[in-house]
Subunit: 337 residues, 2 copies
DNA sequence: GTGAAAGCGCTAACAC
DNA sequence: GTGTTAGCGCTTTCAC
């Protein structure tokens, strides 16, 4: 917090080049109203003096911002790494700089991060909200008319926000329909935070698909649990230990499914033979973990790219009602079903 | 890049509270030289007007910075997610804001990111350099006397830099010694970027341990390859298909080892029985992938925390020669050996 | 304890 | 084309 610095200023560059500050400013911003001679002199002086453009001062003066705030929940989940990659790639191209914050599912942390980002004059915010976020959290942002785009998870509120995500209902239906087609009747849905929009939508899809197949929904087969490998490991154990256990399991996401596979391996049950498992997300490990995890591709990188792109448009002045961009999921069949 | 905003300024707060701008400024910074009455009036006005502190303007004027630049190579690798977590946790506590950049092993991207961060007046930089980074890349930074700390990978150059990492030589020795103790004589070392300091140090440890055990180093058993699951899958195939194949394999990192395990599973070879595998890093999946990957714990989260802490101290004015903080690795024995 | 005035490094009008 | 002037929102002397 206390670093002193002695930068070369544009003033010094201008003096060294024998032009005015205004002309030098035009040169660094690539304006056309400068003679070639002046431009060259300025460039030479910049190089010679080791000039570094001060975006902070420039942004302050011009009342712009080329930074955006990115808030995600769990950087350990490959799903979010991929989301982040998609966002970064898209934003880099447009010349934005990204301030990153991770909430690890803490609402307090999320509020704090949002405030910090406002204080840093971000031009917009890309938020993958903590499950159970109160609408106020994000509604207070709309006062400051700074664009905000939600990714992967919604916030349930009257006031709509721009949102980019996967069709969770459809994804869950695909998974369950696939399991039904394989002949299963007792299909469980395990893991995940029941207060997240994604969980609720997937549960909806799960129930819909069962009803369409004429299979009654058994609440004992819906078991939430921590969204971690360890969580998957334990949740599948619980669901299998109850009387009349399921013969197929649809997991909230791949991380949970992978934990579940570990448990099955331990107790000597072969997925794809004795039991069927389907995950959600299609993270890299899904294809690399024997015998290959059947799953629903959720295209996080694309979601990130779309969300970043939408935010960029909003920052650039795009008006109009909140957009809801919903991508279609794909069923990926591998060895576990 | 074009967002207009109409913030409430400190000026407006001051007027509303009936005090001067200077007094209001003291209040927001928590200075003691303010009467309680004035403080309260200012706080009330702030709340009433919805004031947001402008750190950008404040930093400009006071010539400080509370942002730091963080540059890592591969966000997909859980090792780096953990590094990032350690860094973030440590930096959050000190009130820094983090600007993130990912290079994906592109030297050009790295140079670009470093420039961008300088332009954003970061107070310091935390860099996990791209393998094969030229010393100039980072030496030019020392001109601007902005603190920089390297994490996980060094840059070989005369000018030393602050560095925090694991003892790679020792880690590799632990791995190989373990394999030797298990009775192996033909031990391969596969995967990784041979132009990274980490690879070179691990190779050194590998060779040292073999020599100490009286086993000659066979160059055919050292095979570099992409640092991905897919890379591990292919590199182990190559090394096993050659005449006189190894009976044990030390992998550059866990990602590669996990890819290798996938291949072994496919061809029906049981790790821990027919062949021994050791990884490096001890990422979460190592313990969750049956039969459990033996590995060397590299403590990325701790490294991140130490690096962040050192950078904070440098920013706060800590002088003295470059520090080299080297953590000790631990051998973790699981099912694959 | 409080306020007036100067200025961080830059851009934006507007003359010339 | 180029320079002059004002000022973004804040902090910092330095009087009072």
């Amino acid at each position: 917090m206390v670093k002193k610095r002695s930068r070369v200023t544009l003033q010094q560059v201008a003096e060294h080049a024998g032009v005015s500050r205004a002309t030098a400013s035009k040169v660094v911003r690539g304006s056309s109203n400068v003679s070639d001679a002046a431009r060259e002199k300025v460039f030479n002086s910049m190089k010679e003096l080791g000039y570094i453009y001060d975006r902070v001062a420039a942004n302050l003066r011009s009342n712009r911002s080329n930074t955006i705030g990115l808030i995600i929940t769990d950087i350990r989940n490959p799903y979010f790494s991929d989301l982040l990659i998609g966002i970064h790639e898209s934003l880099d191209k447009e010349g934005y700089t990204v301030i990153l914050g991770t909430t690890f599912d803490s609402v307090e942390k999320q509020d704090l991060l949002l405030s910090t980002m406002l204080e840093h004059r971000v031009g917009g915010i890309l938020l993958s909200p903590v499950p159970g976020s109160s609408p106020e959290t994000v509604e207070r942002l709309s006062q400051f008319d700074i664009p905000i785009v939600l990714a992967a998870r919604r916030i349930t509120t009257d006031h709509q926000f721009d949102y980019v995500g996967i069709d969770n209902v459809e994804g869950a239906k695909l998974a369950v329909q696939h399991l039904v087609a394989k002949g299963h009747q007792r299909i469980a849905f395990i893991g995940g935070p029941s207060n997240s929009s994604a969980w609720q939508e997937r549960t909806e899809g799960y129930c819909l698909a069962l009803l369409e197949a004429g299979i009654p929904v058994d609440e004992a087969l819906i078991k939430e649990g921590p969204t971690t490998r360890q969580g998957g490991y334990e949740t599948i154990r619980k669901v299998l230990e109850q009387p009349d256990p399921p013969t197929a399991i649809f997991c909230y996401n791949d991380i949970i499914a992978l934990g579940a596979l570990t448990y099955l391996d331990e107790i000597g049950i072969k997925p794809g033979q004795h039991i069927s498992i389907v995950g959600f997300d299609d993270i890299q490990e899904a294809s690399m973990t024997p015998p290959g995890l059947s799953t629903i591709a959720a295209h996080p990188q694309q979601i990130g790219a779309y969300a970043a792109n939408l935010l960029h448009q909003r920052i650039s002045g795009l008006a109009g009602p909140p957009q809801q961009i919903i991508l279609s999921p794909d069923l990926i069949v591998r060895g576990t079903t």
